[in-house]
Amino acid sequence: MAKQGAARKTEAMEHGLKSERGGSRAAELDRLIHERVRLGIVSALAVNDSLSFNQLKALLKTTDGNLSVHARRLEEAQYITCAKSFEGRIPKTEYRLTAAGRRALERYLDHMEALIHATRQG
């Protein structure tokens, strides 16, 4: 739960980001995906058919609790799906990116590109 403070901070930052950009369409920042762990999960799944909980944990260098909280938020938004199974006696959680999740990542990339483009023009 220690992560909650940090999460609130990034959300506050996004808020500032939003108002800076005014009401333009590109300013519709997807907060769900903007957070680092969640952005990491979506990015990693974009290049893999599926990844297990442990693979994601190793890849993003995060804790069990942190990863499961963020993964659940993505799952609730239906950006990823989660399948639980057993490999022998060991429970295995496998994540996949949904079409909605892939679109969200694409939108996010477009958004970042637009931000960079806006500065170049100035």
Binding site: D49, L109, E113, T119, G122
Partner: protein
Amino acid sequence: MVAPRPLHDRALDNLRFIRQTMERAGSFTAVPGWGQVAVGATALAAAFLAARQPTPELWLATWLVRKAYAVNDPILSGPGRRFGLSFLPPMVVGGLLTVVLYRAGLWHALPGTWLLLYGTGFVTGGAFSVRIVPVMGICFMLVGAAALFGPAAWGHWLMAAGFGGLHVGFGVIIARRYGG
């Protein structure tokens, strides 16, 4: 309207993070499955050609050509770079030992040496990949050991089984399970 600097930097930083994550995530399957099927197929073709070579020199040349092909694989580029760095040393050792064994006239030891070192490469490099990769390495090592201690006449068929059969088999598994 112009976005202020920090925003621009943050956007760049986010893009960098996405790219790095994708690269590292990609290295989980740095050993492309279908690529391996192709490698295995060339190995079987090489085995067929090598079997028909009348002299040991030609037999060696046929396999060396095939090895050069295999090393050019996507294994050594892009997200698989870390894999490549671990995979390379056993290959270099294999090259040096080939020269030594060739000079000593120890033909029968070549298939076993190659298979063993190739397997070693997959075991060490596989530490950065999905678990099946080191398993494949161990299979190569077992075949290599069989080639080293079994009758010399087996060498040829074990080369085909190892470089051909194991590549095709594991390639299909990796491609199916890990999507490429």
